[in-house]
C-alpha cells in the first residue's frame, strides 16, 4: 500500500477540477473495489477524491423512466419500490451480488467501474496485461497446456492479451434494460448506452470502459420497459451467496397478442469479458413462439462464438442452460426456481 492524500469534493464540477489538477488521482465513492485494490497494490493513486458528497444520491421517476444518482447505494436501488415493480431484473441482479454489507457501501456509479476479480489481475506478483500491459496473461498461462487458474474466466469476447470475465451482476442487468450512463466532463455532459460503456480487451485490456480520465459518472437512467415486459436475472455460482457468477443471464421479454416473442433483450454475466449483450440470442428469439426449442436455439446462438479455455469449458453449456432457464421461467413462472 502506498501513502496517498485524501480530499473531499463538494460538487461534480469541483470533483472534475480536482481530478484535472491531479492526474494520479482516483475518485472514491463506496470504496468497495478501490480500497481493496489499493491494499493489494494493484491501484496506487496519489490522491483520493471523495465524491460521496456531490448531491448525486437521489432517485427520481418521470415518464421517460428512472433517474438514479451515481451515489445511490446498491441496496437502496435494489430495494426501491419502482425498481422492484418495473425493473425486477435490476433488483434481482443487484441482490445476487456481493453481500449485504458490501451492497450497503457500494454505489451504482462505482459498480460500473468494478475492478476485475481475476486472481492474476489482483496479484501484483503475477503476470497480467490488464494490470501491467506487456507482462502476459497469467490465466492463459506461460506454456501451452499449462494454463493458469482460469475456471472463472470468460469464454466470450476474450483476446490473447486477456481472458478475464467481467465480475458485475448489476451491469448485466443494466445492459439488458438498455440503461444509459450519465457522464460529466469539464467540457460537456453526455449519455452513453451501458452496452457501449464497456470495452472489449483486445490489445488494450488495461482500458476497461469508455470513461475518459477527465470524466465523472453522475448517474444512470433506466428507460421504461416496453408495456407488458417481463424481466428476470438468474445467477449460477459456487455457493448460495457471496460468490461471483459462473454464469448468469438477464432477460427482458414481451409477447405479442399471438403469444410470440416481439421484444427480447438478453445479457449474460460470468461468461464475457464485458457484460455481454447477445444480439444473436435476441435475433433468434424475435417472432418465435416461446418454446424450449426456440430458447435452445437462442442459447446456442449466444455462444456460437465462444472460446473455451482449460478449466472453463463448462461455461458454454452452463451459460446456455442458464439462459434457457430464465426464458422458461419468464414464460412459465415458478417452473423450478424453488431451491
Amino acid at each position: 500500500m502506498n501513502p496517498f492524500r485524501y480530499v473531499k469534493a463538494t460538487s461534480p464540477a469541483d470533483a472534475l477540477a480536482r481530478m484535472g489538477r491531479n492526474p494520479g488521482a482516483r475518485f472514491v465513492a463506496g470504496g468497495t473495489t478501490l480500497l481493496d485494490l489499493m491494499k493489494l497494490g494493484v491501484e496506487t493513486p496519489d490522491v483520493l477524491i471523495d465524491i460521496n458528497h456531490l448531491g448525486l444520491d437521489g432517485i427520481t421517476e418521470d415518464r421517460h423512466g428512472l433517474h438514479i444518482g451515481a451515489h445511490v447505494s446498491n441496496t437502496d436501488l435494489a430495494e426501491h419500490d419502482s425498481v422492484k415493480k418495473k425493473w425486477p431484473v435490476m433488483s434481482q441482479a443487484i441482490l445476487a451480488g456481493a453481500s449485504t454489507q458490501l451492497r450497503n457501501m457500494a454505489t451504482v456509479g462505482g459498480n460500473l467501474l468494478q475492478g476485475n476479480r481475476c486472481g492474476y489481475f489482483r496479484d501484483v506478483a503475477m503476470p497480467c496485461n490488464r494490470r501491467d500491459p506487456g507482462t502476459g496473461c497469467g490465466a492463459l498461462g506461460e506454456q501451452p497446456g499449462v494454463e493458469g487458474i482460469n475456471r472463472y474466466c470468460a469464454v466470450l469476447g476474450t483476446s490473447p492479451s486477456c481472458i478475464a470475465a467481467h465480475p458485475s451482476d448489476m451491469c448485466v442487468a443494466l445492459v439488458a434494460v438498455d440503461a444509459k450512463v450519465k457522464i460529466s466532463s469539464p467540457a460537456f455532459d453526455r449519455l452513453e448506452r451501458a452496452e457501449d460503456f464497456f470495452r472489449l480487451p483486445g490489445d488494450t485490456p488495461q482500458i476497461q470502459t469508455r470513461l475518459g480520465p477527465d470524466e465523472l459518472i453522475t448517474g444512470i437512467e433506466l428507460p421504461e420497459l416496453p408495456a407488458g415486459a417481463r424481466s428476470m436475472y438468474l445467477k449460477v455460482r459456487d455457493r448460495t451467496s457471496y460468490a461471483y457468477a459462473l454464469t448468469s443471464a438477464a432477460v427482458v421479454l414481451t409477447l405479442d397478442a399471438k403469444g410470440r416473442i416481439d421484444h427480447a433483450r438478453v445479457a449474460l454475466g460470468g461468461v464475457g469479458s464485458v457484460p455481454w449483450r447477445s444480439h444473436e440470442a435476441e435475433n433468434a428469439l424475435l417472432s418465435s413462439p416461446p418454446t424450449e426449442e426456440a430458447f435452445r436455439a437462442a442459447a446456442e446462438a449466444a455462444f456460437a462464438g465462444a472460446v473455451p479455455y482449460q478449466y472453463n469449458g463448462f461455461k458454454i453449456a452452463l451459460g446456455q442452460d442458464t439462459l434457457v432457464r430464465v426464458l422458461n421461467e419468464l414464460v412459465r413462472p415458478g417452473a423450478g426456481e424453488r431451491p
Binding site: M1, N2, P3, G41, R117, G119, Y120, D123, A125, M126, G138, G141, E142, Q143, V146, E147, G148, I149, R151, V236, R237, D238, R239, T240, S241, Y242, A243, Y244, L246, F314, A317, L318, D321, T322, R325, A335, G336, R338, P339
Partner: protein, 704 residues
C-alpha cells in the same frame, strides 16, 4: 451416574458476555506502551533462490525501525520436532537463515515500523530478485519423484499395514469396488488471524508472548528453542486466553512468532505481528491434498472379504508432516484381509499441519464413498451394509480387544428413525420436486479418543467461590464453561460461583487443545482437585489444591468415538446447483458435558463438512506455484444461505472404561464422514458419482 442438573445441561457459555461486549481480548487486540508493528516480507515465487534484496528504500521509509533479512537477521534455530515433550514446531527449518525459497509466501524478511500502515508500506518497498525454478505443485507428478517416501508409521500407528491375504481375498471376491478418490488442499481459515505480541523485560530476563495458540506450553518451549533461549535463565510466558478458532492451525509453533520476539529483542520495545489473510495461506499450515485408491471385495450379500486403501499425499520441502489418512480404514469395519499403504511426496507448498480430523477426514471421504458404491453394487441398503460389516471388537486385534464402549448401531438406528431413512429413494435420480432432484445419503464417522496428562489448580474461598487455573485452551468450543461445570458439580456450587483462568504458561500445564482431548485430559484433573477440596468446602474453609493426573494408559480396551451422519440434498442438475436441504448427525462420544456447547461444536463440524463436500479448495497456479485463492472471497466455505436444517443428537451414554466421566472427545468427529454423506446423497439424487472433491456445478455438468 452424574446428576444431569450441571453435567450434561445446556449451560450458556460463561465467557459469552465478554465476547459479545468486546471484553474478551484476543492476541491481536493486545496493545502495549511503545509497541511497534511487524510485517513479514514474503516470497512471490515457490522455488529457487534469492538473488538479491534491496532494502534501501524500505529502511529510509517513514517510521521504519528495522528491516530484517537474511543479511542481518539474528541466528534462529529449529523449533523442535518433539510432540511428546511439547516442543513441536510446524516446520523443521527457520526463515532468514539461508537464500533458498521452498514455497510461495515464505518469509524472506521482516519490516518493523511505528504504525501498521507504515510497516505495510515499507514491506512493499523491499525489492527482491530471484533465481527461480519451476516448482513442484502437482501431487500426481510429485508422487513419482525420487524424494517421495513410504513412511512406516504415523501417531505410533502403522501406515503400511496388512492383515490376512488381501490379494487372495480380492481375487476370490465376487463383488469388487476399485476406485480412486481425491481431496483438495484445504485451509483452516479461522476467522481470527494468527498473531503474536512480544514484550521483553528491560534486563532481558523475561519474555511475554501474547499468542494465538492452541497449546501455550508448546508455544513457550518451541519458540524459546527457535530463539536460542535457555529457559532456566530466561522466563518465557505465553498467553492465549481467547481464540477465534484454530482447527489445528494454531497447534504447532510457527516461525513468525519467533521473528516477532527476535525483533522485540533487537529493538528493545514490544512488537506486534498479525498475519494477513493472504499470509495465512502459506505460513500456518493446511490440509494436504490426497489421492486414494480404495478397493473393496465382498460376497454378493455385501460382506467385506478384502479391503485395500492406498493413499498418496504430500508434505513440504521443510518438514515431514504426515496426514494419517488410512488409519481409520483399519478399524471401522470387520474385514479379515486388509491392507493400507501410504506414499508421501514432497512439494513446493507451505507446510501442511493437522486440520480438524487429520487423516480421518479425507480418509473417510474415500472409504465411506466406496462403501456407498458397494451398497449400490450389491443392492444392499447402505445402513444394512454397515451393520452387516459391524466391528463388534477392534479389527486391528484380530477382533479380540473390546471397545471401551461402542454404540454405532444405535447411531444408525436412531439416525434412520429421525431422518426418515425408510423414505430414501431406492433408485438414484428417481425423485424430484420441480427441477430439483432429491437424494438421501449417509456415512459413518469415527475418530479415536485419547487423553493426556494435565495439571490443574483449584482454589476455594471461605464464602464458597472456586477458581480453576490451568494452561488449557478455549478455541471458542466451551472449555471455560465445562471446566466450571465440573468444579460446580464436584463442590456442590452453582456454576456462577466458579470462575476459570486458561491459556497462560504460568498456570499448571496442560496438553494441546487438539486431537479432541481437552475434556478428557483436563476434566479429570479438575474433578480430582475438587474432590481433595471437599473437606474444606464442607467446613466452609478456604483452600487450594494443585493436582496432576497422568494420561490414562491403555486398559485393555480400544478407545474410539463413532457417529452416523445423514444428508438430504437437492440438485438442479441442468445448472449444477446443489443444496444440502437437511443434515442429521448422531454421535456416540460417551457422556455429554454441556449439551449446548457440544451441539454448537458439532454444528461447526457439519458445516465444515458441507464446505468440504461442495466448495472448499485451495488453488495453486500450476506453473508458478502461487496460491491463487488467498482470501475469503475466492476460497469458498459455506455462508449462512448454504446451511439449512442441521440437527444433532447424542447417544449420551457414559463410557465406562474411559476416564472418570466417561466423556470421550467430540471436536473432530463430526467433520469425519460428513463430506461422504453429502456426496452419497448427490449420487442418490442424480446417479452421478463424484469421487473428486469439491462437488462444484461443473462437476455435475461434466458427469450429467
Amino acid at each position: 451416574m452424574i446428576p444431569k442438573n450441571v453435567i450434561g445441561a445446556g449451560i450458556d457459555r460463561v465467557d459469552g458476555p465478554l465476547k459479545v461486549t468486546g471484553g474478551a481480548k484476543y492476541a491481536g487486540d493486545v496493545s502495549l506502551d511503545g509497541m511497534v508493528y511487524a510485517v513479514p516480507v514474503t516470497s512471490t515465487i515457490a522455488r529457487g533462490n534469492i538473488a538479491s534484496m534491496d532494502t534501501s528504500a524500505a529502511v529510509k521509509a517513514p517510521g521504519v525501525r528495522i528491516v530484517m533479512t537474511r543479511e542481518n537477521a539474528p541466528p534462529l534455530f529449529k523449533g523442535g520436532n518433539d510432540y511428546d515433550d511439547a516442543c513441536q514446531s510446524g516446520e523443521d527449518w527457520m526463515p532468514l537463515q539461508d537464500d533458498e525459497i521452498y514455497y510461495d509466501g515464505q518469509i524472506i524478511g521482516l519490516v518493523v515500523a511505528d504504525t501498521l500502515e507504515r510497516a505495510i508500506h515499507a514491506a512493499d518497498l523491499v525489492e527482491t530478485s530471484y533465481q527461480s525454478c519451476r516448482p513442484m505443485v502437482d501431487l500426481t507428478a510429485a508422487l513419482k519423484k525420487p524424494d517421495a517416501t513410504q513412511p512406516a508409521t504415523a501417531l505410533g500407528q502403522p501406515l503400511q499395514y496388512e492383515r490376512g491375504d488381501v490379494d487372495k481375498a480380492l481375487a476370490k471376491s465376487p463383488v469388487r469396488i476399485d476406485r480412486t478418490y481425491t481431496t483438495p488442499v484445504q485451509h483452516h481459515n479461522p476467522l481470527e488471524p494468527h498473531a503474536s505480541v512480544a514484550e521483553w523485560s528491560d534486563d532481558g530476563s523475561s519474555l511475554t508472548l501474547h499468542e494465538t495458540s492452541q497449546w501455550v506450553v508448546n508455544s513457550r518451549n518451541s519458540i524459546a528453542r527457535m530463539l536460542g533461549i535457555d529457559q532456566s535463565k530466561v522466563t518465557v510466558r505465553v498467553l492465549s486466553p481467547f481464540l477465534g478458532g484454530g482447527f489445528g492451525s494454531k497447534g504447532y509453533a510457527w516461525a513468525f512468532s519467533a521473528l516477532t520476539a527476535a525483533a522485540a529483542r533487537e529493538l528493545g520495545c514490544p512488537v506486534k505481528l498479525v498475519l494477513s489473510r493472504r499470509q495465512m495461506y502459506s505460513l500456518n499450515g493446511h490440509r494436504p491434498s490426497t489421492t486414494q485408491a480404495v478397493t473393496l471385495g465382498s460376497d454378493r450379500r455385501g460382506r467385506l472379504k478384502a479391503t485395500r486403501h492406498l493413499c498418496g499425499t504430500y508434505t513440504s520441502k521443510v518438514f515431514q508432516y504426515i496426514e494419517p489418512v488410512v488409519l481409520s480404514t483399519q478399524l471401522l469395519y470387520k474385514c479379515s484381509s486388509l491392507r493400507t499403504g501410504f506414499d508421501l511426496a514432497r512439494m513446493n507448498t507451505g507446510t501442511p499441519t493437522p486440520m480438524r480430523g487429520p487423516g480421518e477426514t479425507p480418509g473417510l471421504f474415500a472409504l465411506e464413498s466406496a462403501m456407498d458404491e458397494l451398497a449400490f453394487a450389491t443392492g444392499v441398503d447402505p445402513i444394512d451394509l454397515r451393520r452387516l460389516n459391524y466391528a463388534e471388537r477392534d479389527p486391528r486385534t484380530n477382533n479380540r480387544q473390546r471397545w471401551s464402549s461402542k454404540h454405532l448401531n444405535e447411531c444408525y438406528d436412531k439416525g434412520a428413525e429421525e431422518f426418515g431413512w425408510k423414505d430414501r429413494p431406492k433408485k438414484p435420480a428417481s425423485r424430484r420436486d420441480g427441477r430439483w432432484l432429491i437424494g438421501y445419503g449417509m456415512a459413518s464417522a469415527t475418530y479415536p479418543a485419547q487423553n493426556t496428562s494435565s495439571s490443574v489448580k483449584v482454589s476455594l474461598t471461605a464464602d464458597g467461590r472456586a477458581e480453576i487455573e490451568v494452561a488449557s485452551h478455549d478455541l471458542g468450543t466451551g472449555t471455560y464453561t465445562i471446566l466450571c461445570q465440573f468444579a460446580a458439580n464436584e463442590l456442590g456450587l452453582p456454576v456462577s460461583k466458579v470462575s476459570c483462568r486458561l491459556a497462560d504458561t504460568f498456570l499448571p500445564p496442560s496438553p494441546c487443545a487438539g486431537g479432541s482431548q481437552t475434556v478428557a485430559s483436563v476434566g479429570p484433573a479438575v474433578i480430582a482437585a475438587c474432590k481433595n477440596l471437599l473437606t474444606f468446602r464442607k467446613a466452609g474453609m478456604p483452600g487450594e489444591e494443585t493436582v496432576t493426573i497422568p494420561g490414562s494408559q491403555p486398559n485393555g480396551f480400544s478407545w474410539q468415538s463413532f457417529g452416523a451422519q445423514f444428508a438430504e440434498v437437492r440438485v438442479d442438475a441442468a445448472l449444477g446447483r446443489i443444496r444440502v436441504h437437511r443434515f442429521l448427525g448422531i454421535y456416540d462420544v460417551g457422556q455429554i458435558i454441556n449439551e449446548k456447547t457440544a451441539r454448537s461444536q458439532v454444528h461447526g463440524g457439519i458445516i465444515q463438512g458441507i464446505g468440504m463436500a461442495l466448495m472448499e479448495a485451495t488453488a495453486f497456479d500450476p506453473y508458478f506455484g502461487r496460491v491463487m485463492t488467498p482470501n475469503l472471497a475466492d476460497y469458498h466455505f459455506p455462508v449462512n444461505a448454504d446451511i439449512h436444517g442441521i440437527r444433532v443428537s447424542f447417544i449420551d451414554e457414559p463410557d465406562p472404561h474411559f476416564g472418570p466421566m466417561g466423556a470421550r472427545g467430540l471436536g473432530e468427529l463430526p467433520l469425519t464422514g460428513a463430506a461422504a454423506a453429502v456426496a452419497n446423497a448427490v449420487f442418490n439424487a442424480t446417479g452421478i458419482r463424484v469421487r473428486d472433491l469439491p462437488i462444484l456445478p461443473d462437476t455435475i455438468l461434466a458427469k450429467g
